[in-house]
Structure formats: C-alpha cells, structure tokens
C-alpha cells in the first residue's frame, strides 16, 4: 500500500473512532454537535455576570448550584454575528479537560436540537477550505438526517490559549 493510501486509511480509522452519541445544536442556522459524554447539563438562559477585562466572547460567569462557572458565547467565539438571546437560547454546561484538570464551562447556543447516534462511516474529515472555524476545533463533518453537522472538539474550543491565558487586557 502506498504512503498516501496508508495515510488516508489512518485518518479514516481515526475518524471512525469519533463515532458515538452527539448533542446537536444550532448556531446561526448551522448545525453543530458535541460529544454527549462531555455534556453535564443544559440550562435555559440566565443572568450572566460580566467579568471585566475578558475577550468579547467571554460573556462572564453564572451561578450553577453554588459553583461559579464561566460562560462563552460560541457565536462570538467563532466570529459570527452576535444575536439577541431569545426563548430558545440555552447554555450547555460541558466538562472539558484543561491543563489543570477537568473544568466546567457553559457555552451559549441558539438552540439545542437532539441527541444523535453518529456512525463512524458517516464522518468525513473537515474540508480545508470554506470554513470559518480553525480546523483544530473540528473533529469532523457528519452526515445525519439529510443534513450535515459540524462535530466540534469542544475541549480545544474551550481551552485554547485565548481563554486559559486570559490576562488583564487593559482597564
């Protein structure tokens, strides 16, 4: 087998391993998914306390049963237009791995759809063009229910330097 073919096969099997259950949600009319195992809970929109000196997409913090957790607006994180929070806007609380261990964060999404079982065969690698998102954020593209869902590597999305290295960005 040639080198290239081997590589493709490796990638394919890596993608295959991404199969499983995903929670799907929408952001600016596009469908996304993240691994259900990382989802702690889904809560309706609530008052977010703004934290000064943080990037735009860091909306602030909320009280989750006595714990203070940060909330990220995914639209803003992905460079999409900000939207008014409506009835269907939710916060998905996920647990991701950071350098200091597991950490809980909330992400604001337009609406939550459903939990889908995604087959390994239905996952394709992310195209290297035409996506706003940096490829490192995407696990792959899944075909499901006649549409495509962009599967997010939520650990990477939420623990990129921009967030964990939040410094005082000027008063």
């Amino acid at each position: 087998m040639s080198q290239a073919a081997r590589q493709i096969q490796q990638e394919a099997s890596a993608l295959h391993e991404k199969e499983g259950k995903y929670l799907t949600f929408t952001l600016a009319q596009e469908d996304y998914g993240l691994e259900i195992l990382k989802v702690r809970e889904i809560i309706g929109m609530m008052e977010i306390t703004a934290v000064p000196q943080t990037p735009e997409y860091v909306k602030g913090v909320i009280n989750l049963r006595g714990r203070v957790i940060p909330v990220i607006d995914l639209r803003l994180k992905f460079g999409l237009e900000a939207a008014e929070y409506g009835e269907r806007t939710c916060i998905i609380v996920v647990e991701v791995q950071s350098e200091v261990g597991p950490v809980q964060m909330g992400v604001v999404v337009d609406s939550v759809s459903e939990v889908l079982n995604i087959n390994g065969d239905d996952i394709e690698p992310a195209p290297s063009f035409g996506t706003r998102l940096k490829n490192q954020f995407i696990l792959g593209i899944a075909k499901a229910k006649g549409t495509i869902k962009i599967l997010l590597d939520i650990d990477r999305v939420l623990t990129s330097e921009e967030i964990t290295g939040i410094d005082s960005l000027g008063g």
């Binding site: 306390t49 934290v51 000064p52 203070v68 940060p70 964990t164 939040i166």
Partner: protein
C-alpha cells in the same frame, strides 16, 4: 564427676519431648526449629541448680546450632541436625542416670561432630553459610528499573516523602539524643529506601542508605552517641539522596543512564563517627587535680587549661534550637533540651545530658502514648465536599433571612427560630472548617533546618524560637504558606541579622534571634516572622524607589508606606544577589501569595532593633465580610475590613489635578479618586462625585476613594474561585453568589489600585 541427684519427672519428660522434636526435623524446617528452641528454653528453666558445666555447655551449643540452622549459617545442614539429635540423646542419658556421660562413646562422637562444625573454638568463625542463590538477583534485576517506570516513579515519590519526615524527625532527635523511638523514626526511612532500592537495582541509592542506616543502627543499640556532627552527616546523606532521586527522575523521563555519585566523603565521615562511638567523658576538674595532694593556684589554672584543650571547640555557626510546646495535660513536660556546646570551661562533665536523657526520653514516650486520640480516616474529598456545602448553607440561610417577604412579618418566635438556625449554621461551619485544619508545626519545623543551613553559610549565629506549633491552619494553606515563609526567614537571616562582630559592636549579644510565632486572633491565623537585626533601611529603600520612579520626588511617605515599597516587583536592595536569597522571586510574590489566601502582610520595623513581618490570613479562607456596592449595572463586593468610611463629597472637597487625576478631601487628608465605572466599563463613567458615593478604602498603607453608585448592603460572603480561566485578571479576588442567585464579583484592592495607576 560428682554424683547428681536424680532428675525430676518433669525434666525427663521435657527432654523426651525435645528428642521427639529433633527427630521430626526436616531440612529447612523453620517452624520445627522454632519449636525446638522454644522447648529447649523451657527445659533450661527447670534445670536443677547443680546441673554442672558440661550440661550447661551442651544446652548452649544446642541453642547455638538451632539459631545457626535458622539463619542458615551452619553447614552441612544434615550434619548439624544430626548433632542436635546426638546432643539431645546425651541429655536424655544424663537425665536417666545420675552422672553426665563424659567419657562415653556417644559423647566422643558428639564432641567430634561439634568440632567439625566449628562449635568448639572460642572465637569460632561461622562455618561457610550456604550460598543462597545470591549472584542471581543482581542479574535478574538488571532491566527491572526500566520495565516498570511507574513503580520507579512511585518509589521516588514515597522516598521523597520519607526524606521530609527525616528532617523533622531529626529535630526530635536533636532534642532527645537517646530517645529510641525518635532514632528509630529516622532509621526506618533509610532502611526502607535501601530495601526497595535493592529490588529496583539502584546500587548507589542502596549504598548511601546503607551507610547512614548503619550509623543509625549503632545509635539505636547505644554504641554511638548522637552529636551535632552525626546529625550533620545524616542531613548530608539526606541531601545526597535527594540529588540521587532527582537524577533518577530525570534519567527515567529522558531515558538516559544514571549519574555517578561520589560517596567517598560520606563514607569516610561515617567511619570516623563510628570510631568515635561514645566519647569518654573528659575527666572532671577535681579528677585532674586529685593525684596531687595540694591544689595551688597555678595548678588550678593548668588543670583548667587542660580541660579546655580537651573540650571540643564548637563549630563557628552553631544553631541552638528552643522549641516551646504546650505541655501535654497529664504528663510531665516533654524534654526541652538545648543542644548547646558550652564555650566556658565546665566543671560539670561535658557529655550532653546523657544520664538525664533516658529518664526524660521515657517520659516523652509515655506522654506521646497517653496523647493518642481516637481518629477516623476520611477521604479528603468528602471533607472538601462538606466544607463546600456548608458554605452554601451559610449563603442559603442568609438568603432566606434577607427575603423581603420575610422581613415584613413581625413574629418574635419566627425571629428567634431564624436566629437559632443562623447560630447552628455558624457553628456547623466552624466545625466543618476545623476538620480541614492541620497544625502548622510541621511547616514551622522545616524552618529549623533552613535556619541551620543559612546561619552556617552566612557565618552568623542564629537562635530560632518557634511558638505556637499547635496552631491550626486550613490544610490548603499549608503548602501555599511554605514558600513565603521560607523567603521571609531567608531575608531575616541574610539581610535582617548582622554578623556577630557587627552585633557586638552595637552592644547586642552576638547571636541573632529569629522568632516564628503562629497564633489565632480575631478569626485570623497570624504568623509573625521577627528578628532583632538591623531593621529596614528606609533611606535606601526610598532612594531606590525614587530611582525606579515608583516614588515621585518630593512625594511624602510615612514610614509604613516606605516599608511597603519593598513589595514592589523587582525590588531588592541587596547589593549582591547571593544564591541564598534575592533571586528576584521577591517580596512581591510573597505578597501576592498571601493576598491570594485573602490575607494581609504587615511590616513593623525599627532601625537597629529589628523587623517583624506579620502575616494575617482568615481562618476560614473562604468567607469574608463584604459590602455590596452598585456600579452601573453591575454589583461588586468590597472586603468590609478595608473600608474606612463612606461619604458623598461636597463640591468644595473635590479637586482635579492637571485635568488628569481626581482628588477628594476627607477632613485634612487628600485621597486620590478611582472611578470603578471606567475601570469596569459600566454605568456612567463621568458621574460627578458629588452625585455618587465615595468609599474610602485602605490597602497596605495606601488610601483611595472608590466611586460607586450606591451601597446595597453588607453580608457575609463565601468566596468562590472564578476558576483557572480568570486567575490572572487583576482586581478580582473571586466571585460569590448573592442573595438573588446571581454571581457577584469580589474586588481585590491591590489589583484595583494597580490597574488605576497603569
């Protein structure tokens, strides 16, 4: 051979039993040998008084053979067992008849056998022990170390823990050099490390541990006295071992081979110390003089000189440790012995308190035994969980009490009941916090070694006083407090204290004093680090600060403010940055660490008299008294302790400076104004102060006026960490859940002040 009385029935039966045991012995039959020896002992106890020397010898030899068989120090085994049988047979004959069969054939056979096995010679060299597959182990374990890196990592971690235990154990040994328990506590870790190192094929570590272990073993059996040089050697061993472990760790992760360590110096020292053993007492003065009948003055002087010459001169930098502990209630006070080597010619024997010690040591052990409280082992995560929930309960309880609907009800019984709930909650909270508390003693004791090393390196004599070792602090604080303490202690010895010469020139005693005190006061843990040295050089500090532009020329600062300048980053007035301090880690990091623990650090210094640093940290790391203020749409919490007063300034008290900064006049003081609206980009950034509220806050000697819209209330606030993501944000100490369930941000004044400036 004299006739001996007929032997008792009991004796005969006993010997018959012994014979039975011998007959049943198999090769390598340890239980059998054990039973044999025990039985032999029993019989020895019922021997008639006139049993004669041959019988005594026989018993002794049988025991000897038995022991050697157990330890596999006699060969051939079959021959030895046969000898046992022959010996017992002789005893049986003796028991049945009245005389010992000294010339009989069986006796000769036995005698020959005993000689063959090397039992008859006085200083018998033990017969060749059967080589028990010794060469095999080394080969079989060659690769083991890399086969299981996790095991090696475990070993490294545990060994390090043990080494720490040794350092604090040595303090105990220094105080009570003949306390067996204390010595054992230091012996065991070396012994254990040696054992494991053998399995992991780490010969250097094995060898080093063995050297120190053998020294300590001698001490355990009283063949060696624990003096200061011995302790030094042990500490040197600990350091070398630490280096080896570090090397091992690196070798493991980098996949390289181990470094070669030179152990010659340690080995030589061990040999020297072993030879010293227990030094003979220098003859007392009276003894020296006794041989002469009269004692003339010149003879007296001569004798004194002799005595002084024999007296070891104490090393230049001696550390004298005085540890004050609260005496246990039902036992005599533990031995507070000062390991001092007297410089004056003693008339009393110079041996360090040897006779007094054993009694004291026994007392010490009795005291600690009596103290053993009943304890429960609980998973720390459960305790943390409990503490968190308690915090929640405090908040929830507070929320209920503040419920506006509730406030409209006027019902005395309800009032009382709510007050009761509040009281119980508070108490529950105290108790759950106390579960996480540990005595600070261990941390303080770690400073003993540090001071010892520092005083040595800087050639100063330092006396360290520890107070309040039983003071408890939250376990999460213990680690955090270590580095700041080390830094402050280093500063105290290196910069605070003068050299003995300088001190004497000032009329001070040559030895410098350092005090480490820990106590509870007003809901805080307070730690003092005090020395009686030179005090802070305020002129130098001011000059340096002006150089750095931290202080404007002509700016007036009170002494406290000048002192606090040393907390600015990069500030070190030491001329030389020695390796022992001034690494640029600096006082700013110390301050930061303390503030992170919601604490404060105060300085109290007087020129020529010394300096005292006081660390004050809340007992409960997590709860503070907060003032909730409104700034624009947001609410923030200020620590109530920092707020001096609140006012709405009159127009006449408000000034602007060059169109840049703003100042409020409060009575006769001028205080800079900080606009939180602008800092946090909320609300009206231009609101005139006369229409807002100014909160005068103080932080480290500096006062500022914070502009806010309104004060919403005062409440106890549980500090929640904002999480790793927000750790570095200046000005925020954490978050809390307010009465309405929303998050309120808690302000960190130091950060706020800094932000406003930059």
């Amino acid at each position: 051979m004299t006739d001996q009385a007929p032997k008792s029935q009991e004796l005969r039966e006993g010997l018959e039993g012994l014979a039975l045991k011998v007959v049943m012995l198999e090769e390598g039959d340890l239980p059998g040998l054990g039973a044999f020896l025990t039985h032999l002992e029993k019989i020895q106890a019922i021997l008639p008084a006139d049993h004669g020397p041959e019988v005594a010898l026989l018993f002794q030899q049988l025991e000897d053979v038995g022991n050697k068989l157990i330890l596999q120090e006699i060969a051939p085994v079959a021959r030895a067992q046969e000898l046992l049988s022959q010996g017992v047979s002789l005893l049986l004959t003796w028991a049945r008849e009245s005389t010992f069969p000294g010339e009989s054939e069986p006796w000769k056979v036995y005698h020959r056998g005993a000689q063959e096995l090397g039992l008859m010679k006085a200083a018998a060299a033990p017969a060749q022990a059967e080589p028990e597959a010794e060469p095999e182990p080394a080969a079989a374990m060659e690769s083991q170390i890399w086969e299981d890196p996790e095991l090696v990592a475990n070993f490294i971690a545990e060994a390090r823990e043990h080494l720490e235990g040794i350092e604090s154990g040595l303090v105990r040994v220094e105080q009570a050099p003949t306390d067996l328990q204390a010595i054992n506590a230091v012996f065991r870790p070396f012994h254990t490390v040696k054992g494991v190192a053998g399995f992991l094929n780490l010969p250097q570590i094995q060898e080093l541990s063995h050297e120190v272990e053998s020294l300590l073993d001698e001490a355990r059996s009283g063949r060696l006295q624990i003096t200061a040089p011995v302790i030094d050697l042990i500490l040197a061993g600990v350091d070398r071992l630490k280096d080896m472990l570090d090397d091992l760790q690196e070798a493991l992760s980098d996949h390289r081979s181990l470094q070669r360590f030179d152990l010659q110096d340690i080995k030589e020292m061990v040999k020297k110390l072993q030879q010293q053993g227990v030094p003979a007492e220098a003859p007392k003065l009276a003894e020296i003089l006794e041989p002469q009948e009269e004692i003339a003055a010149p003879d007296m002087d001569q004798a004194l000189k002799e005595l002084q010459a024999q007296e070891k001169t104490p090393p230049p930098a001696e550390i004298q440790v005085e540890a004050k502990k609260a005496p246990p209630p039902n036992a005599a006070p533990p031995p507070v012995e000062q390991v001092k080597e007297s410089k004056r010619a003693p008339v009393a024997p110079p041996a360090p308190a040897a006779p007094a010690a054993p009694a004291a040591a026994a007392e010490g052990k009795a005291a600690s035994d009596a103290q053993l409280p009943a304890t429960v082992k609980v998973d720390i995560s459960k305790v943390d969980n409990l503490v968190n929930l308690m915090g929640e309960l405090v908040i929830a309880q507070s929320q209920v009490r503040q419920n506006p609907n509730l406030l409209t009800i006027s019902d005395p019984k309800l009032e009382r009941d709510l007050a009761q709930v509040s009281r119980i909650t508070s108490e529950l909270q105290m108790i759950s916090m106390s579960m996480r508390m540990v005595p600070i003693g261990q941390t303080l004791r770690k400073m003993v070694r540090l001071v010892r090393d520092l005083s040595r390196k800087s050639k100063k004599t330092v006396e360290l006083h520890l107070e309040g070792e039983d003071t408890e602090i939250d376990r999460n604080m213990v680690e955090a407090i270590y580095d700041p303490l080390v830094h402050l202690v280093r500063n105290a010895v290196d910069h605070g204290l003068e050299t003995p010469k300088e001190r004497q020139a000032q009329g001070k005693p040559p030895e410098g004093h350092v005090w480490l005190r820990a106590y509870h006061k007003g809901g805080n843990v307070v730690i003092d680090i005090e020395e009686d040295g030179r005090g802070l050089d305020r002129d130098r500090i001011l000059a340096k600060a002006q150089e750095r532009g931290l202080v404007q020329p002509g700016e007036q600062l009170n002494p406290t403010q000048i002192d606090h300048l040393i907390f600015e980053p990069g500030f070190s007035t030491a001329e030389t940055i020695t390796d022992i301090s001034g690494r640029g880690v600096g006082m700013d990091v110390v301050r930061l660490t303390i503030e992170r623990l919601q604490g404060k650090i105060e300085i109290n210094s007087r020129p020529q008299q010394g300096t005292r640093f006081t660390l004050r940290m809340p007992l409960t790391m997590a709860i503070i008294d907060g003032l909730v203020v409104k700034v624009g749409k947001e609410r923030y919490i200020l620590p109530a302790v920092a707020v001096r007063e609140t006012l709405r300034p009159a127009a006449s008290d408000y000034f602007t400076v060059q169109g840049q900064g703003e100042i409020i006049k409060v009575r006769s003081q001028l205080i800079p104004l900080l606009r939180l609206h602008r800092l946090f980009r909320t609300g009206n950034g231009d609101i005139p102060p006369t229409e807002a509220l100014v909160m005068v806050v103080e932080h480290e000697g500096k006062q500022r006026g914070l502009l806010v819209d309104d004060i919403l209330g005062k409440q106890e606030v549980v500090i929640k960490s904002l999480g790793e993501s927000f750790q570095k944000i200046k000005g925020l100490a954490g978050g809390t859940i307010l009465g309405d369930g929303r998050v309120g941000l808690i302000l960190d004044l130091g950060g706020i002040f800094a932000l406003a400036q930059g």
